[in-house]
Amino acid sequence: MNRFILSRILQAVPTLWVIATLTFFMTRFAPGGPFDAEKTIPEEIKVKLHSHFGLDLPLFDQYLLYLKNLLQGDLGPSFKYPGWEVSELIGSAFPVSLTLGLLSLCIALLIGLPAGIIAALRQNTWLDYLPMSLSMAGICLPSFVLGPMLIFAFSTQLGLFPPLGWYGATDWVLPSLTLGFFYAAYVARLTRAGMLETLKLDYIRTARAKGASDWRIIFGHALRGGLLPVVTFLGPAFAGLISGSFVIETIFFIPGLGKFFVTAAFNRDYTMVLGTVLFYATLILMLNLLVDLLQAVLDPKSRSSS
């Protein structure tokens, strides 16, 4: 097992290197630079700025320098906020996004799993149609519509939750709901499909022949197999969840990571673009590994083969 994890981590290194290289050159070839502004900067000051950030070196030297720093774990200073290190900015925003992501995941699972299970058990009744239609709506309802709608209902009208901010537990509710709803929709669909598939299997019949109750059949036997596709989906989805959502952070004024992902590109904040991209890639690779491990826990067969 340890060897497996180690080899996966070693495999990730070249992938990350390719990502870093491509991103580095892509950002540099995009028009506009980090210091372009409506009030044009005098040439001599631009030269000064460039030399401060090492942009005056030949591009390939910059690249080598970046890699060298990267190997030492240094992501460099942000171009947009020169007083701050990229790693510091990501480090301060990540806990926020992590909290939001985990809460949304909880909501997605708390809504999605029961909805999917019920829909599967009551296939082709209103208990199937209603959650499945809602989930279709959840998939096609963009968060920039859902967010303001939830704010209007729960904040403006009912006054239950604050419409923005990230200060206390009550602030967490609406953004997590907004973010979680989309995933809940997916989870519900996948759970339903997985459960329907599993409930057809022979071993469910075996369990029934033993005299197991419905409850026992679902939770003791069917759920584990039925959840495998959900777990597979949740790996990459979770990376998306905890790397922040620009739209939701903007709507709810949350100091999360998503903003850096989007604005870094617009600001041509080279180091920040690279930092966020590498962070995200690492996250994905790690979560894929985690999913494989989790699958091994859920599925004894893959456990012994890996």
Partner: protein
Amino acid sequence: MYSHRLNNLLLWPASLALWFLLHGCTQPTNVEIALDEQILHFGLGAEPQHLDPHLATSVAAHNILSALLEGLVGEDPKTLKPVPGVAHRWEKSADGLTYLFFLREQAKWSNGDSVTAHDFVYSFRRILNPSLGAQYASMLHPIKNAKIYHAGEKSWDESKVGARALNDHLLEIVLEYPIPYFLELLNHYSWFPVHRPTIEQHDAYARMGTAWTRPGNFVGNGPFSLTSHRINSVIETRRNEFYWDADKVRLQGIHFYPIESVDTEERAYRSGFLHLTQSVSADRIDYLKEKYPGELHCEPYLGTYFYRFNLQSPPFDDLRIRRALSLSINRERLVDKVLKGGQLPATTFTPPGTGGFFPTPKFPYDPQLARQLLMEYLDEKGLERLPPIELTYNTSEGHKKVAEALHGMWKDTLGVEIRLLNMEWKVFLSTISRGEFSLARAGWIGDYMDPHTFLQMWRSGDGLNMTGWSNQSYDAALARAETSVSPEERMDHFQTCEDLLATEVPILPLYFYVHLTLRHPSVKGWHPTLLDHHPYKHVYLATEDEQ
């Protein structure tokens, strides 16, 4: 097939929701608490890039720095006229070239150190130091020989820069040429002092991006001091007890929130999270006027919204087409029906009242003449109709709306087809600066209260010109305005410049900005000003009845 007990599963989410219902009880809002606490909750609009006054470049930075630092002079909260700041009085020589500032002895840094004339000289030297690469260093170029030092060829002493500390509390500044608005200039953050030991401790004299501006490190001399800074979340300041005029400061602190989305900011305001918003979505004006009649403020602002023509390529190399496009814009209607924020139609480039300058309105609306000019042009070129014109703008709802409205006006009056091209901001900037446009959106916010901040950019070959327009009479008039001592004469020269812009039409002024804001009635001592400066030491929070 399966028993009904499964329906219990439905109770899960329901009970969770109930839990939140019970716990999500309403708490008093920021604005309600603030009446006791005297904390101003301020919508900042954007996260400031720097909190270093010598490197800062944004309005957001100004809003914070004017709380943390104080220049030689202060501003009158209503007129923005210079009032005593760190200097309790000053003297100006008869030729208008030499200023003596008498610094008050009570002026202190937030760590208790005295603010001295040496601090100011040190600060001027720092911003002008070419190694720092300060963008706004040119703001200090009016100081004698500052330009020479800034060019980097000579040392400070060799350059003989005209700023000297005569003693700890007496500062002499000698100017290159007389500047009528010199004292107003001093309120720009590039003139603010920095605390020498702090700068040296962080080796920030010639380096950007050091940690000296972090809370705990920052030492300022303003009415407030920095207590916390979380990127994209909040910047908190607290009353500075060492401030010389601390007795007058009634606010206990100001919290700045960099909320970028106007919609979110509006929701924040409406829920009592903010006292002030940085701006208001143009589409919401009607709605807010109705709902919050006394709280929506449209205040004139020192800025012009305009389009640039590219004179280097047809059809805008021809004056008639430029004029025709200008003449067929109904600016009144644009302002009243589309923008609706109380903006003023721009019939000059410089906003009226800038430093006492009231230019004569030009740029009329005359569709008849516009059509005639277009016909003439088409006949001469033997064209059936004008080929479609590309209008480039950076992506934003507001810019799109204006562009769409003009698209309609030109189509209706001239039958000219306009193609709108939106671009991402940085791509837009690089496209425009390379001259790859024919008609492009632009905006200009004045840095100080003088027409010069507007009119200088149309000088031939100026980095900000970018239209390809060059006019010797304009250059000459501008040069004369820069050196003349008499205010009346200056205004005459500026008027000449304005006239030339109106006859040559290298640009298309559309409207003058307003500062649209929602402001809570409990905010007192806050007055509309052209530069949107609001000296915080006069601001306090009170309910309607207590004054």
